[in-house]
């Protein structure tokens, strides 16, 4: 950890500290609405880090991360509503559930040499399969949804993840910062280098003695587990869950936006992407509401166009470009 800190150029250290201080102090000046946007920023930055680990580092495109998000959300909220088990315990059950799902998807795909785009399709297929399954699962309310009551005893206590926006804000901030630190550390670990080798040239990696199946499975394990934690946050923040929303392909696309815009395979990419994109999307919605236009698809059209433009003009994302401009890119050794 300390090693990473020392590697940053002076300007980078200053910027990091300033940004962190600003984030911690933000609730002093931000109103409720702005705070809710910032919660989304850190939430998407966190999920982006989780997805980027698999795609950006290990090179495996997953378009079904809604599966792990949904499983995490449903496990923790169902444990709370059905058995009164709080989220701080529930999260440790949600993680293995989502991780197991990730293992199944990864095993089925990589064992049978399903690579690249076909692997992505497999991930979508599993997410859809699970969505339809939950649509018919009576114990979690099926397609009518699962709701977290705000009145039941203890549900407003912070240890049950209930409370005001401040709680969710700092929680999302901690998640995003912790994920960024974890990713920065993994990036420099032997495992991280193995992932890069697998991403760049699987054949060469195999020849160099890397167990590529194992490397990909570990990436999936960590990515799915992290996403499940995001799911627990989602469940307790929104306090209602519908299979058609949480397992939706649109949810998976939402997750991949920030890292792609920010920069695939970079440590700060997901963070930068979320900071740029979420306020843009939110202000678009606010702007349209202001002018009385109620168009449900407009935000998605904006996201879709952004994806197309960025992937055409700047496929490596905003962050590498921004880092060069700010003089933050590490000198090549």
């Amino acid at each position: 950890m300390i090693d990473i800190w020392h590697r940053l150029p002076m300007r980078g250290k200053m910027l990091c500290l300033a940004a962190l201080a600003a984030a911690i102090a933000a609730p002093l000046v931000a109103d409720r609405y702005l705070l809710s946007v910032l919660i989304l920023v850190f939430y998407f930055a966190y999920l982006g880090q989780a997805w980027n680990l698999l795609m950006g580092f290990a090179g495996q495109l997953s378009l079904g991360h809604a599966l792990y998000l949904g499983l995490g959300a449903y496990t923790a909220t169902a444990l709370w509503t059905l058995f009164g088990i709080g989220p701080w315990i529930g999260v440790f059950i949600a993680i293995p559930v989502a991780a197991a799902a990730g293992m199944i998807v990864g095993w089925l795909g990589w064992r049978f040499a399903i690579e690249g785009v076909y692997f992505a399709l497999l991930t979508i297929a599993f997410a859809e399969f699970t969505r339809i399954g939950f649509d018919h699962l009576q114990i979690t309310g099926a397609s009518a949804g699962l709701f977290l009551s705000v009145n039941s005893p203890g549900s407003d206590k912070w240890w049950n993840l209930g409370g005001g926006p401040l709680l969710y804000y700092y929680l999302a901030l901690i998640l995003a910062v912790a994920a960024t630190l974890l990713v920065a550390w993994l990036r420099r670990s032997p495992l991280g280098y193995r992932w890069l080798a697998v991403r760049e040239d699987p054949e060469a990696a195999r020849a160099a003695g890397i167990d590529i199946f194992r490397a990909k499975m570990i990436a999936m394990l960590i990515s799915a587990s992290m996403t499940a934690v995001g799911g627990v946050f989602y469940g307790f923040y929104y306090r209602n869950l519908f299979p058609s929303q949480v397992f939706d392909i649109g949810r998976s696309i939402e997750i991949i936006m920030a890292p792609i815009i920010g920069g695939l395979g970079t440590v700060f990419g997901p963070l930068v992407g979320a900071i740029l994109l979420t306020p843009l999307g939110e202000s678009l919605t606010a702007l349209m509401q202001h002018f009385g236009v109620n168009t449900p698809g407009a935000k998605s059209i904006f996201y879709g166009l952004t994806l197309m433009v960025i992937i055409t003009l700047q496929p490596s994302g905003v962050w590498p470009w921004l880092a060069r401009k700010l003089g933050l890119d590490r000198p090549r050794t």
């Binding site: 049978f112 399903i114 785009v117 399709l121 497999l122 449900p296 879709g304």
Partner: protein, 288 residues
């Protein structure tokens, strides 16, 4: 097999042929260009809306508008390839994929914006008529749609087998460098291929509009359906797309009747997973 089951299987086969035509478009584009058209179902639904509009405003039956829509879609595909996809041919797989995911998102939400979320049915005068064969009752529209789909598939097979352009496209698929060496205009042929894939979409969407109601919500489901069919049938195999389509049609029809209509695609996905485990190259695909 009871009469009811037989009835359902026949319905499934007929619907499956239309699915097969749709998947054929995906298979052709992938087989030649190695590009996965993630906006496949989205454009299928665009064709459904085109058929609906022509029927609703001008009273043109989808069986008549089939040809003009397919031709229009050929040019749409041609232009899309030339403008949007061409620069991505030599780029990383995930970049192509993300480009088309973006396009799919724009198209489906554009439809939502223009037409709203409601379903738009085409009510033909013979929509509820059926043929009676022994103990079988077969929907008239389904028979027409299946026959149309089958005829177009045959035409496409013949095109690839016997025409100069078709042979040239197959040459590009088999050996790109070789095709370039003998002087084929690969860029042009790629655009034609993309156009042909889109013509399949246009025809399939038009036929689909007679048996299903157009709505934006169908789009992602159709994209997935086309992928499931192509993977089950075997990548790059034209016959495989049809076989896969029929299989999925039957499985959907049976699951829809005996279990629950809303759970029918679960069985398609289960079928996909079984095929991936037991025969990853697909039923009619070459060994990986």
């Amino acid at each position: 097999m009871t009469a009811i089951t037989l009835n359902i299987v026949v319905q499934g086969i007929l619907t499956g042929l239309v699915y097969g035509l749709m998947a054929l478009g995906l298979s052709v584009i992938f087989g030649v260009m190695r590009v996965v058209n993630f906006a496949h179902g989205e454009f299928t639904v665009v064709a459904m809306y085109a058929a609906f509009l022509l029927f609703d405003m001008l009273g043109v039956s989808p069986l008549v508008s089939l040809l003009p829509i397919a031709v229009a879609f050929f040019f749409l595909g041609y232009v899309l390839q030339r403008s949007l996809v061409e620069p991505f041919i030599s780029r990383a797989e995930h970049e192509q994929f993300i480009l088309l995911v973006g396009l799919a998102t724009v198209v489906v939400n554009g439809l939502l914006l223009i037409f709203g979320p409601d379903a738009h049915p085409i009510n033909l005068p013979y929509s509820f008529d059926s043929y009676t064969v022994g103990s079988l009752f077969i929907d008239k529209v389904r028979v027409f749609a299946a026959l149309g789909a089958f005829a177009i598939c045959i035409a496409l097979f013949l095109f690839f087998r016997y025409t100069r352009t078709g042979t040239a496209i197959r040459a590009c698929a088999d050996n790109l460098t070789g095709a370039g060496v003998v002087g084929l205009n690969v860029k042009q042929l790629y655009a034609v291929t993309f156009g042909l894939g889109f013509a399949c979409i246009g025809a399939a969407g038009t036929l689909m509009a007679t048996i299903a109601d157009a709505s934006p919500g169908l789009a992602p489901a159709y994209t997935l359906l086309a992928f499931v069919i192509v993977i089950i049938g075997g990548l790059g195999s034209m016959a495989g797309a049809l076989v896969g389509g029929v299989l999925i049609g039957i499985s959907e029809a049976l699951a829809g009747f005996y279990i629950q209509p809303s759970m029918k695609s679960m069985f398609s996905f289960a079928l996909l997973i079984i095929v991936l485990v037991l025969r990853p190259q697909g039923l009619m695909g070459r060994r990986l």
